[in-house]
């Protein structure tokens, strides 16, 4: 008997030794698997700041509620608690109850990214089979302000539009991992969490946008687009010598509600339009800079002329008249502008258009940004060969257009637009981005002459509604025709659609900011369809706000025209 017991003890001992040595690791892992669970620690996505360090997009703590139906002991009671805390609707309740009853899945989301306090409240209840995990939520604390530019992330925190997409890699951190022990009911045992790898937060972006200027632009656009019954609007505010974009706003009328809203897409960088007469700035500057015309060079300009099969016209009927280059721009004569282009030569005019930044994507490199449409001069057919001189037969994005006109404000130097000012790295240091690239387009003298003519456009030409008290303003209006689906400028009912714009800068004697306002499809057949009536007043409304926000003092000399002159 004793021998048998000793024998059994020996066998037991051998087995114990075998388990501890031979298969020990395997069993230890299996045991650990039973009482521990590993989890991903989500990395904080970087914050997006405006130029003054105000948060535009930030990730805040939130909780995600999920269930393991296999571990739920009382489906009805659990569902009742979840419904009362999370406010589940009937469809959600039915879906969850079916999952709890079926018990064929080990993980089902109840609700993601709920308020952290709600998650803590649920965690306190320690419901069997109910998991509460941390999951940061992306929010725009300023509401919709800047939404078009910032873009958005999906629910997993991955950038899917705008700068969130363009800088996704930089903003995304590296996730960490942790283990925690669980009780037999599947509940986590508090205090047993062990971090196995720390999460590393993403870098932060500092934009060139100014939140207040951005808001002012959006507010002014919404007001104007609503008031005149237009389809959409765009506003860009660019610092003349750095290319920094202080605002880049897009609004559009909702097809469902009819309300004008801030768009989720950045139409200022993505959409292309035939800019119309604003492009005359390029043609006249090219003529002046190449020396073929001066501001007082004259042309005999009829109100219309035939080109190929097309009869091209000025905006209004007038007798053949001798017009100076200055008059041509101030009165926005299409025929006169064609004459300047002809004097300059089409190849040279095309080269200037390229130098002004047309026909290629800007340095913004915004996701989905368009290069516009600028055919090589030798590829242009029929009347397009000359209409490009006044902004028809070519297309540009609003950001291309504002950068082009900014050449005149910046003493003839093209400065690439910029949206990102710097990056805050993991150690909290700010690394400033490279200054915008520049290149010479026209001479400072040509730019100065152009500025002088463009002041006249505001004082006595098509843009009188852009006048501002205390500041001299220079600018140019544009009323482009929109191409219809049938390839012409008229739809099947003979109706035309317009793209009204104004690009101006101030103070004209020492330009600090260039501002583009465009109104898409102002009501045809009304006075509000023109750049001077639809867009210029928005500019006038914005200038005092920008000056106040940025701290621009009016010059000592009174403005040449406008209120207070």
């Amino acid at each position: 008997m004793i021998g048998v017991i000793i024998g059994l003890l020996v066998l037991l001992g051998i087995r114990v030794v075998d388990i501890q040595t031979g298969d020990g690791d395997q069993y230890r892992v299996a045991a650990a698997d039973q009482w521990t669970r590993s989890a991903v620690i989500p990395a904080d996505r970087g914050t997006i700041f405006d130029r003054n360090g105000e948060e535009l997009a930030v990730s805040i703590p939130s909780a995600t509620v999920s269930i393991n139906p296999k571990l739920i002991e009382d489906p009805a009671a659990t569902l009742s608690v979840l419904t009362s805390v999370l406010g589940l609707d009937v469809d959600e309740q039915q879906r969850l109850f079916a999952e709890m009853e079926a018990k064929d899945r080990g993980f089902v989301y109840v609700r993601r990214q709920v308020d952290a306090a709600v998650g803590a409240q649920l965690a306190e209840l320690r419901l069997s089979g109910v998991n509460i995990d941390d999951e940061p939520r992306r929010v725009l604390p300023g509401g919709d302000t800047g939404r078009s530019v910032i873009g958005l992330t999906d629910i997993d925190g991955v950038g899917i539009a705008g700068l969130e997409l363009g800088y996704d890699q930089l903003l995304t951190g590296t996730s960490g991992s942790m283990t925690r022990e669980v009780a037999p009911g599947g509940r986590s045992i508090p205090g047993t969490e062990t971090v196995t790898a720390d999460a590393s937060p993403g870098n932060d972006l500092v934009l060139t946008l100014d939140r207040s200027v951005q808001f002012a632009c959006e507010d002014a656009l919404i007001t104007q687009v609503s008031a005149i019954g237009a389809k959409a609007g765009t506003c860009i505010v660019m610092e003349a010598n750095t290319g920094d974009l202080f605002a880049m706003a897009s609004v559009k009328r909702s097809t469902t509600s009819g309300e004008v809203e801030i768009t989720s897409g950045n139409h200022a960088a993505v959409d292309v339009y035939e800019p119309g007469s604003v492009a005359k700035v390029i043609t006249v500057a090219a003529g002046l800079d190449s020396g073929v015309v001066g501001p007082d060079t004259t042309f005999v300009v009829p109100w219309r002329r035939e080109y190929g099969e097309d009869l091209l016209e000025d905006s209004h009927q007038h007798p053949d008249e001798e017009m100076t280059v200055r008059q041509i721009l101030v009165e926005s004569s299409n025929i006169g502008t064609i004459d300047i282009q002809t004097a300059t030569g089409r190849p040279r005019h095309w080269e200037y258009m390229r130098l002004f930044g047309l026909g290629e994507t800007s340095a913004l490199n915004f996701p989905g940004e368009s290069a516009g449409i600028l055919k090589h001069w030798s590829d242009l057919q029929g009347s397009e060969q000359v209409t490009v001189s006044y902004g028809q037969g070519m297309a540009s994005t609003p950001v291309q257009l504002v950068s082009a006109v900014n050449v005149i404000a910046n003493d003839g130097l093209y400065v690439a637009p910029r949206l990102v000012r710097g990056v805050v790295d993991e150690a909290g240091a700010v690394a400033a981005t490279e200054p915008s690239a520049t290149h010479r387009v026209v001479s400072p003298l040509s730019a100065e002459v152009m500025r002088d003519i463009m002041v006249d456009v505001v004082c006595a030409g098509t843009a009188t509604r852009a006048q501002v008290s205390s500041f001299n303003v220079a600018g140019k209006t544009g009323t482009g025709l929109k191409a219809q689906e049938n390839g012409t400028y008229e739809d099947e009912f003979g109706q035309r659609s317009y793209y009204a714009s104004f690009v101006g800068f101030f103070p004209a004697e020492d330009p600090q900011f260039t501002v583009l306002i465009s109104i898409d499809e102002p009501p045809a057949g009304t006075i509000n369809r023109f750049g001077g009536t639809a867009a210029a007043p928005v500019f006038a409304r914005l200038v005092p706000t920008i000056a106040h926000e940025v701290g621009i003092q009016p010059p000592d000399t009174p403005p040449a025209c406008g209120v207070g002159s």
């Binding site: 904080d44 914050t47 700041f49 003054n52 360090g53 105000e54 948060e55 535009l56 930030v58 990730s59 805040i60 703590p61 952290a116 929010v139 604390p141 300023g142 509401g143 919709d144 302000t145 205090g191 969490e193 971090v195 937060p201 932060d204 500092v206 939140r211 207040s212 808001f215 002012a216 507010d219 805050v424 993991e426 150690a427 909290g428 240091a429 700010v430 008290s469 205390s470 005092p544 706000t545 000056a547 106040h548 003092q553 009016p554 209120v563 207070g564």
Partner: protein, 154 residues
């Protein structure tokens, strides 16, 4: 007679030295040594236990501290989002409109009489360049400061 003989007979010396005494002393030494060893082991185990307890306690404190840091960080993120919301132009605009304010229909820059400006500066001892508000860190600088400190964490 017999008694006398017994008395006269030479006394037999014990054949072995008083080994009993020696044996007794060794045993006592062994016992003392054993007690000492056991005592040392017990004390060692007790010290080890205390050390383990202290390590566990310190670890617990570290865990608590890390949890507090994490919680404070979450609070910081939540609060700065809230602050950004409160300072946002959209909210200020809405709040102002609720108070009955409306955007100005026109604005103008008014030159200030240098005499008035000089008098104001003299009376208030305020430089026009300086803000009346106490200087405080900008939101991004506060954020960077926290990031710098967190970056130094072991």
């Amino acid at each position: 007679m017999a008694l006398a003989l017994r008395d006269l007979a030479p006394r037999r010396r014990p054949s072995t030295p008083p080994t009993l005494v020696v044996v007794q002393g060794r045993r006592r030494r062994i016992t003392r040594m054993s007690v000492t060893v056991v005592g040392v082991i017990v004390i060692g185990l007790a010290v080890l236990g205390v050390l383990h307890t202290q390590i566990a306690e310190r670890q617990w404190q570290i865990d608590q501290l890390e949890r507090s840091i994490s919680s404070a960080h979450e609070d910081f993120d939540t609060l700065r989002a809230l602050r950004a919301e409160l300072r946002s132009p959209e909210r200020l605009n809405t709040a102002a409109r609720e108070l009955g304010m409306r955007p100005a229909t026109a604005s103008n820059f008014i030159p200030i009489d240098p005499q008035v400006l000089a008098t104001t500066i003299a009376q208030t001892a305020m430089s026009p360049e300086r803000s009346a508000e106490p200087e405080q860190l900008a939101p991004i600088d506060q954020f960077r400061l926290v990031k710098v400190i967190e970056g130094r964490r072991p």
